[in-house]
């Protein structure tokens, strides 16, 4: 059960990271809200 939970977290983390990376190469989020971008993904 513990192993499955960690696997689930790893999958969620991978998907979230993928989305974050896609957003970082764009001008903004999907719609009208733009939270502060993490420093490691910023354009600077």
């Amino acid at each position: 059960m513990k192993l499955n939970k960690n696997v689930l977290f790893a999958i969620v983390s991978s998907i979230a990271t993928l989305f974050a990376t896609v957003v970082s190469t764009s001008a903004c989020f999907w719609y009208l809200y733009q939270p502060t971008e993490p420093k490691c993904l910023s354009d600077k």
Binding site: A20, C28, W30, L32, Y33, D43
Partner: protein, 211 residues
């Protein structure tokens, strides 16, 4: 929802031993996912109930994809974004489905009107896109150029799709295609509007009423 994203990322980082940077990236990604799923779900529900689901989905996808290269005005809160987005999608979808149809030869009227809309949009995008946000500044000139070209290409692509749909509905057998091409034009016009100063002011006013 944003708090949920942060709490979940906190839990994931703790369980998997991630550092602060990785945790922030996961929270950022989860917020994006929750925003998309939230807007999609509610817009879908309203669209199904109102009989304009296809138009809602065209608006949802068209504005979202277009916005990724153009940027534009933003709401200051997650909730404000959801409400304004749902309202704009449902409003334009309803208009496209029920009110904008005029009983004249479609390939005359709609091509003219849509061409004017897309030419106007192209010019505004050329002048203003991309529009950055303070929370996501765009500083590299190469990225600005790339996003501008992508934005202009998107306007042209949407115009071509609209024209194809109009031509496919010439004999009035596929009226829904006209509604969908109108939704696409509304999506383009709305997104282009959010690039302008007036658009920013309107979003700010709507946002202040909601928060």
């Amino acid at each position: 929802m944003e708090k949920l994203a942060h709490n979940l990322s906190e839990k994931i980082a703790e369980k998997l031993g991630y550092d602060q940077d990785k945790k922030e990236v996961i929270a950022y990604g989860l917020t994006a996912i929750f925003q998309m799923v939230g807007i999609f779900s509610i817009a879908s529900f309203i669209g199904i109930v109102g009989g304009f689901w296809y138009e809602s989905m065209v608006l949802f996808l068209a504005v979202g994809l277009f916005r990724k290269s153009t940027g534009g005005a933003h709401s200051s809160t997650f909730q404000g974004c959801i409400i304004i987005s749902i309202f704009s999608i449902s409003f334009f979808a309803f208009l496209s489905r029920y009110l904008f149809y005029v009983n004249v030869p479609p390939h005359v009227f709609f091509i003219s009107v849509l061409s004017v809309i897309y030419i106007f949009s192209f010019l505004v995008v050329y002048k203003l896109a991309p529009v950055a946000s303070p929370n996501k500044p765009i500083v590299r000139k190469e990225k600005i150029k790339k996003l501008k070209i992508k934005s202009l290409a998107t306007v042209v692509f949407y115009y071509l799709i609209s024209m194809i749909f109009i031509f496919c509905s010439q004999d009035n057998s596929h009226i829904r295609l006209i509604h969908i091409s109108l939704s696409l034009a509304c999506a383009t016009l709305w997104q282009v509007f959010t690039l302008t100063k007036t658009g920013h002011k309107l979003i700010h006013i709507m946002d202040s009423k909601l928060t």
